[in-house]
């Protein structure tokens, strides 16, 4: 097994998918010879030709609209939106069309496709290169929303998304693109899209998180352990549909829950997790469910390190929850 960054793992997953299935296409803005602004598609055009990996005109609406038509007519499009912040011109195509096509046609037409897009802060990108917009999409039945946090999962979840019969929004934590390495099998493999992953075992407090917040939670858990608090860190991996049973099991095991995400708090993904646990496991819960999130503001620039939850804020929440 090779030791790869998350970015290299994604590149590797795309390569395997292109090799395995001639109907797979990779396209978007600058994904061709340049290999993408983050180099996620590096060398794919030279290896597979311009018919399989290519640049498009600058229109998110057009990229996703055309991808839907390709998917309806037998291809497997893997479209890139350069930054998740730029996805909104395509919101209509994703929400009104891709997500609803199977339902509205009674299953006669489907749009099996993947939309890859880097999300989240940590690169000094300001308001429009940093957002974490998963909640907008998780409110959309018919869509799957996937967020990896390790190189192994990035490749396996991406390959599973490409093989999936439904449209998948694949959110890539750009803060983790090059910040960590991990063992990644060289061949094709899938990581199941309906199960969460326990990133760390612990019996005192459960932290639910995903994407770029997983390493933050793990660091906070290490610090908590030094203070005698054992933290279970749950990496959700697939936000929609959610592994609800897995979430409830993990919440019940400790009875103390912290939810962590970098997106704004109000109507954020954490609100759904909190409600799910309160509705179904309240008798197991020993302390108020805590959320550690970004502020309910636009994403800042110079102060992004204070906007983003860090291990201090997570540790505080763990300690408060534990002491309740």
């Amino acid at each position: 097994m090779a030791l790869l960054t998350l970015l290299q793992a994604i590149n590797d997953g795309l390569r395997n998918a292109l090799q395995d299935d001639p109907s797979v296409l990779v396209f978007g803005q600058d994904v061709g010879p340049k290999g993408g602004v983050f180099l996620a598609t590096e060398n794919l055009t030279s290896e597979f030709g311009e018919a399989r990996c290519f640049d498009t005109p600058l229109s998110e609406d057009g990229i996703i609209g055309a991808a839907i038509g390709m998917a309806m007519n037998g291809l497997k499009p893997v479209a890139e939106i350069q930054f998740q912040d730029f996805i909104f011109p395509a919101f209509d195509q994703i929400v009104s069309e891709a997500a609803k096509l199977r339902y509205r046609s009674g299953g006669q037409y489907t749009a099996p496709m993947v939309i890859r897009t880097p999300y989240g802060g940590g690169i000094r990108g300001g308001l429009y290169h940093s957002q974490s917009g998963e909640a907008y999409f998780c409110h959309t039945p018919g869509l799957k929303v996937v967020v990896p946090s390790t190189p192994h999962d990035a490749k396996g979840l991406l390959m599973a998304s490409i093989a999936d019969p439904d449209p998948v929004l694949f959110l890539e934590p750009k803060a983790l693109y090059r910040s960590l390495k991990g063992e990644v099998p060289s061949g094709s493999y899938s990581v199941d899209l309906s199960t969460l992953r326990t990133a760390r075992e612990g019996g005192d407090v459960t932290v639910f998180c995903y994407g770029a917040m997983v390493p933050v939670a793990l660091k906070a858990a290490d610090q908590a352990a030094e203070k005698g608090i054992e933290v279970c860190v749950v990496d959700l991996r697939t936000l929609l549909p959610l592994d609800e049973e897995g979430v409830l099991d993990a919440a019940k095991r400790t009875g103390r829950v912290v939810i962590l995400h970098e997106a704004p708090r109000f109507c954020g993904y954490g609100a759904e997790l909190s409600a799910l646990i309160a509705e179904n496991a309240i008798e197991y819960i020993e302390a108020p469910i805590k959320r550690v999130t970004g502020f309910d503001t636009p994403f800042p620039n110079t102060l992004e390190h204070h906007y983003l939850p860090d291990e201090r804020r997570v540790l505080d929440a763990i300690e408060t929850t534990h002491a309740f």
Partner: protein, 377 residues
């Protein structure tokens, strides 16, 4: 009162004048095919007549009448090959019937009943027919335009001899989908044809208020998509223009923008009262250019149709339609399970739970039937 059509139509391509006289080269169609075009247009008008009556009687929910526009969809439909796709808007259902959508499926869709292939999920006038490559539109204007372009790209990529014919109205020419669709198709030289049905109105907004361009066909120029103005009330011109545009796309010469100039004789839908925003004199003017009368006069003049035969044809079509309506009106509702099916390929656990909980409540009132049974968890 606003008049809709003052934007230039650049001497539109025409084969039959409004009085049915031949003013252009006749296309190579057999007598039977010519009569079939008339029958297809008449059928659309018969359907509109019955559907509007059903709607007024409260037996169906909504109708988007195609009255006056019959030539656009029927002339075009005949020009397509069986493997071609037709991407539709609100008023192209008649084209689907012409290409193979069974009448009972059409009517089932209007009743949104258990025989509707879309399982009663869309409101009326959202037809689909997979067999003849006719996906339904969503209701959001212009979104189908890039879909057709992507599907055309896929056809070429897969080596399929398909042309994708994408219908939309003058209102849609202002939408995102129009601009991204034409732009992508131009860059990709995709095997597709854009058909802009210029009927003068986007609900209550006249086509002169929709664009400052000199003509709708001019809107293709900036995208490298050649435009053509056609008399949309001349079924033979619609046929010929679509034949030439699809032939050209099939040869790999790229897409064209074909503007079919016609007029929406009725309201936008059964929920619309056009007297609030348009002058009846304009409607009367277009009444004289009626596509069905034009085709009838042409066929009668050349002896393809006996005098009075058109009335017999209409009676036959009504009879066939009324039988189908009686059957479809008696069809049962869709199973409740369809509430949560087809959201994903498999019904995921949370939807099974939501449905089962719903069923427990309904069973308290004795309203569930055996086909509505709970999902295994």
């Amino acid at each position: 009162m606003t008049l809709a059509v003052n934007i230039s139509t650049n001497d539109p391509f025409q084969i039959l004048a409004p009085d049915g006289s031949v003013v252009g080269d006749l296309p190579q169609l057999s007598e039977a095919e010519l009569v079939d075009i008339l029958r297809g247009m008449l059928r659309v008008r018969c359907i509109d007549d019955r559907m509007l009556k059903l709607q007024r009687a409260g037996r169906i929910g909504f109708v988007g009448s195609a009255m006056g526009q019959e030539a656009t969809m029927i002339g075009s439909a005949v020009a397509l090959l069986p493997q071609d796709w037709l991407w539709s808007g609100l008023r192209e259902g008649g084209a689907a019937i012409m290409r193979g959508l069974p009448l009972d499926e059409y009517v089932a869709q209007m009743f949104c009943n258990a025989n509707d292939t879309a399982k009663g999920r869309q409101m009326c006038n959202h037809f689909q027919h997979k067999g003849s490559h006719y996906p339904s539109w969503s209701s959001v204007i212009g979104t189908q335009i890039p879909h057709g372009v992507g599907a055309a790209f896929a056809a070429r990529q897969r080596g399929l001899d398909e042309v994708h014919v994408i219908f939309f109205g003058d209102g849609a020419s202002s939408s995102n989908g129009f601009h991204s669709g034409l732009n992508f198709a131009g860059v990709w030289k995709a095997p597709c044809v854009f058909v802009l049905v210029h009927n003068g109105w986007a609900i209550s907004v006249s086509s002169r208020n929709q664009t400052a361009a000199n003509s709708y066909s001019a809107k293709g120029t900036a995208y490298g998509v050649e435009g053509r103005e056609v008399d949309g009330n001349c079924a033979l011109a619609c046929y010929q223009a679509l034949k030439e545009a699809t032939d050209s796309a099939r040869r790999g010469a790229g897409p064209q923008l074909v503007v079919l100039n016609t007029y929406r004789m009725g309201g936008h839908s059964s929920s619309d009262d056009p007297s609030k925003y348009r002058d009846e004199a304009e409607v009367d003017e277009w009444r004289d250019k009626d596509p069905i009368e034009r085709m009838t006069r042409f066929l009668e003049a050349r002896g393809s149709l006996a005098a009075g035969a058109v009335d017999e044809l209409r009676d036959e079509l009504f009879m066939e339609l009324d039988t189908v309506i009686r059957t479809q009106e008696a069809a049962p509702r869709m199973s409740w399970r369809t509430l949560v099916e087809d959201v994903y390929a498999d019904v995921p656990p949370h939807l099974r739970q939501q449905y089962n909980q719903f069923l427990i409540t309904q069973e308290k009132y004795g309203e569930a039937s055996p086909s509505d049974g709970a999902f295994p968890l």
